[in-house]
């Protein structure tokens, strides 16, 4: 087994040992989403119009919330040193960690969001579009958030700082993710949106691993 798959399997196994940690993130997602109808009122046409934006924003916050521990746990118990000293590229380790994060956060969020969309009065095609855009868009959030997590490793007040760094960089993904459902409501297809989301994910894939690796090396100095 290569270092990449070993690290991926290790992180997934660690999550399985404490499934509650993922449960808390998903519960946050549900509770945060439910607050909107309570705050805005239950008119179905209003809710259906804001559903995509609300669910995308809530997913973004939920993903960021869980990212703070992505490298911090390894930093605190010294296993980060073992990754830094592993005889294979640190960029791959960064990628494995972000992939593990996406599997335990982005993937379940993408599956859960359409279910919540029903409560917002979204129709069938919109629910499908919501799930599809989240599925293609959340990897970008894991990568950009992973970078913010690596940059704030060992910083003071790292949680709020992480959000401040990651949120502006996540804006394009949010715009095209939430915009897709609106386009669908206007009677157009969402292929362009999904393609742009995929392109954004590829840009993140091409740029963030080396940046995360550089940030982790600095944290190790």
């Amino acid at each position: 087994m290569s270092g990449f798959t070993t690290l991926l399997a290790r992180d997934l196994r660690l999550v399985l040992r404490r499934p509650g940690d993922v449960g808390v993130v998903l519960a946050f997602f549900v509770v945060a989403t439910v607050l909107f109808p309570l705050g805005i009122g239950p008119e179905t046409n209003v809710l259906a119009r804001i559903a995509a934006g609300v669910l995308w924003c809530a997913a973004l916050f939920a993903a960021l919330l869980s990212l703070e521990r992505l490298f911090a746990a390894d930093y605190e118990d010294g296993t980060l040193d073992l990754l830094l000293l592993a005889p294979w590229p640190l960029e791959l380790a960064a990628l494995a960690k972000c992939l593990a994060h996406w599997i335990v956060t982005g993937l379940p969020l993408s599956l859960l969001a359409p279910v919540l969309g029903i409560a917002f009065g979204l129709d069938g095609p919109s629910l499908l579009a919501l799930g599809a855009t989240l599925l293609v868009g959340t990897p970008t959030l894991s990568l950009i958030g992973g970078l913010a997590a690596a940059l704030t490793l060992g910083a003071r007040k790292s949680g709020a700082l992480l959000a401040l760094l990651a949120l502006p960089l996540c804006v394009p993904t949010l715009i095209f993710g939430a915009g897709a459902i609106e386009t669908l409501a206007a009677g157009d297809g969402i292929v362009t949106h999904v393609a742009i989301l995929a392109a954004l994910a590829l840009v993140a894939l091409a740029t963030t691993p080396w940046a995360i690796a550089a940030a982790l090396r600095q944290a190790g100095e």
Binding site: T152, L165, A215
Partner: protein, 239 residues
């Protein structure tokens, strides 16, 4: 001996900046005075925007300088990460708040201009929204560079952020433009005039150059301060 090594570049920079700064400051004041005079008394009123067009002479150059300032942060970041240039870190630390201030001026003047034109202080105009996100990127850079007990660690983390930020800036701009056309009819008066007459263009460019002088002056002055501050901190750490 070892301290001299660290200060080699900053010390040379200090000698340079101390020679340049007084003259540069004088030139900046002079140019700004001429620029403000041209903006208020030479440039004609716009037939559509009236006197409010004069805000553009501050608004537009501020937008240019805040964008250029972020590109400068990225260049300084690359220079720090690749060549470990100690001066680059101090200059980035000095430049970020200046760039953020120009972004803030751009946002404020944009909103002041918007009040008579749009009837409200804030409209989700594509340019203003992009500028707001750029302002947030600046805030992140400033906060990150000051978030560590070791200033060097903050310098390098912020350098990585600036590089990733500069790659994402065009993407953010593109997506905000797209979002804007989706959500707003194009009939609203945009902040950019379609064709600029020379009587406006000349004062505009003059103001842009004057504010560039101001930008450079402030960055050099603040870099000097950062050099002194870092030197003091190192002296305290060694004591």
């Amino acid at each position: 001996m070892a301290d001299l090594h660290f200060l080699a570049n900053p010390a040379r920079f200090r000698r340079f900046s101390q020679r340049v700064l007084p003259g540069l400051g004088f030139a900046t004041v002079l140019m700004l005075a001429v620029g403000v005079y041209m903006a208020f008394f030479v440039a004609p009123e716009d037939y559509q925007q009236g006197k409010t067009v004069r805000i553009m002479f501050l608004h537009v150059p501020s937008a240019w300088l805040s964008m250029g300032g972020y590109a400068l942060l990225a260049a300084l970041g690359a220079s720090l990460l690749v060549w470990r240039h100690p001066l680059a870190a101090l200059m980035a630390r000095a430049a970020a708040p200046v760039g953020a201030s120009f972004a803030a001026v751009c946002l404020l003047t944009g909103s002041l201009w918007g009040r008579p034109m749009w009837g409200t202080y804030w409209v989700w105009d594509a340019r203003l929204t992009s500028m707001l996100l750029l302002f947030f990127l600046y805030l992140g850079h400033i906060a990150l560079s000051r978030a560590y007990d070791s200033p060097e660690r903050g310098d390098r983390a912020a350098a990585i952020l600036a590089l990733i930020g500069v790659i994402n800036l065009p993407i953010i701009k593109f997506s905000v433009d797209w979002w804007n056309t989706l959500h707003q009819p194009a009939s609203i008066t945009r902040l950019d005039a379609p064709a600029i007459h020379n009587s406006i263009l000349v004062p505009l460019l003059w103001m842009a150059v004057s504010l560039l002088f101001l930008f450079v002056y402030l960055v050099l002055l603040r870099t000097e301060t950062e050099i002194d501050r870092r030197r003091l901190e190192n002296a305290e750490a060694a004591a």
